[in-house]
Amino acid sequence: MNIILNIQRYNPDVDDAPHFKEYEVEVGPNQRLLDALMQVKRFQDGSLGFRKSCAHGVCGSDAMRINGKDGLACKTLIKEVAQKDGDTVTLEPLRYMPVQRDLIVNQAEFFKKYRSVKPFLINDESVAEKERIQSQDERMQFDDTTNCILCASCYSACPVLQDNSDFLGPAAIAQAYRFIADTRDRGFGERLAVLDQVDGVWPCQNHFKCTQSCPRSILITKRINQTKRLIEKHKQKKGDN
């Protein structure tokens, strides 16, 4: 069928402000939205800018706003966003990050917040066995959070960031949880300084938009709440609550 892609364009060299441009493409209902974008890029307009790589939802390159919802173009099938000839799909860059070109945004701030939670195993005890022993149950405690591909869909979906751009954001908190819930990690104290501050975990108001947008099915909101509880428990234990 023939559908219309209505794409936000912006070229900082010549444009004062972003504007929309329409492209008509012929695609099948089971094709990926990314396939449609590639058709435009290869055969209609080489100047269209967007990131992409794996084409099957595992690298996090092509997160964008698709008809107002955040997600991956390569994990969205045409039939989910257009049903018949002439249907329009609107594509915009992710929110809260400066647009650099068309659908490409600057993710520096997103990655800075991610790095701030010390997203690496902290444990300098020597390993008694060859590997650190961890039970299957312990391993499952943080399982879903290990799937994060840092696509920033959740970040763009979060209503809290609209008013508070300093909020740490869902992905960074979920990645902090990935380590503090890992029985092998000893870094809770070190991460507390980042998590337990006004713009750390606390601004989250359980809108669940992050969880709904996550292409890796991570229970982000739940993990944020668990992180909050771990912090409270820790403070109670220390008696300073």
């Binding site: 080489g46 100047s47 790589s53 099957h56 650099q100 195993l121 022993i133």
Partner: protein, 578 residues
Amino acid sequence: MVHQFDTVIVGSGGAGLYAALEASQQSKTAVLSKLYPIRSHTGAAQGGISAALGNVEEDKPEWHAFDTVKGGDYLVDQQAANILTEEAVQAVYDLENRGLPFNRTPEGRIDQRRFGGHTRNFGEGPVRRACYAADRTGHMILQTLYQQCIKNEVAFFDEFQVVDLLLDGTTTQGVVAVELATGELHVFAAKAVLFATGGFGRIFKITSNAYANTGDGPAVCARRGIPLEDMEFYQFHPTGIMGLGILISEAVRGEGGILRNREGERFMQRYSPTLLDLAPRDIVARSILTEIRAGQGIRGDRKIDDYVHLDATHLGKAVLSSKLPDITGFCKTYLGIDPAETPIPVLPTAHYAMGGIPTDVHGRVIMDGTGTIVRGLYAAGECACVSVHGANRLGTNSLLDLVVFGRRAGQHIGDYVKQADMPQPNATAADEARAFIDRLTDGSSGPHGGHITDEMQTTMMEKVGIYRNQKEMQAAVDDIQALRQRYRSVRVQDTAKPFNTDLLEIIELGNLLDLSLLTAAAALDRRESRGAHSREDFPARDDDNWLKHSLAYLEGDTVRLDYKAVDTSIWEPKPRTY
């Protein structure tokens, strides 16, 4: 702009990041990557990383080495395979110690599962050797290594695409890169350069590889006079999702999945009585094609896009969701089926380059058949050819290759740069790259790259695919030459400097065309069948004449082929049956 580093690492997949971790401890190191590091295709690897830990049953590195050699149809350099499999054990423990969340045994140790071609006691039967984190092993390796790089404050230049290598005779001087954000050219002067740019599956139409897998490192080296080794050996993975090429990991068969033809028959029984569905990939891919050609595909029309079934319905939802969750998700998303209920329609998909930039076991690049080393130049990972994969790689051995040889290269670089002088590339270093880009962007009219890409991929898929013959490969060489000719008049449509992805993709297309030519020419020259290279006109392996690595030199528009010996110092080549 000119930068100076002791070490420049090009690529931030598993191989580049591991090398960076090592090299950055001893030298001023920069990692240049055209993708954000965590977007690298290592993150797509699913099934596992092999090491003879013996956590669930007896296993030995020696058995693993033998399987690697036999799996590679004896084109593997055997001492290198020994290093790979012996260092595997510690490498996997190191990853775990650094935080990698492996699946666990009931005792809390790293769990292991079966994979194609990995056997106990020199071929007696399948062994559980693949360490895994669900079907996201590559993702976890990439994440863990990136996390460690953050911890160790490694310096990254994200979205810098390397377009040229600077050599002074046989000494490395650095690289030239385009910065995506600005379109500016940067010269990175460096004592040591490591290429870790990954695979080039995008020369083929149907592939498991990412858009970014365009073989930039090997192509840049080839244009600078370095031969590429064993380019004729390209692996087709037996089970890609029909039509899309998205990979369905061998782990599905490792967990018990079965390939079936239209009769529902487990046809691998006829081709590989001992290992069945877990025979090495070249054998399984050929078996599938043979079934299809015999009218035993699911449609039964003998057409090239007919398919077979990968049946995982008997594994149960619990196994699928705990051990193969992503595969299950891919089937649901892209096919609309649940593999617990419906068999998966699969076809071979272009997957892995056994060949690449020739190196020794320290990752040093070798520029001829006599072992001459390019000072300061290194390669590791899929873009390199050590050679531990020979004519056909075993599943799980690539992730292993990345960590073992990525680390070895990083360590060797650390030592090398201490005694090397800082090169001084002259002011004209970037001129060639600049002239090339200026031509592409000179504003004159010319064809766009889209159609050339399409035609190249179709030609390579149809004529240099699983089964090959003289006539078709010659036609492929001619076609690719014609496409390279057309490429000379290509122009970019995007006239902006910042984020000109159009320009960068057209540069990538040039690389793909050069690698297509080298692959087709090397394949045409090898008149035998071995591993992934199977010729209808020369169906047998011919050790008397062809037990040797090829070296393909790109000399302008022609390819010159040379050969060098294989290290067979441990096991004598034998017929390969499973």
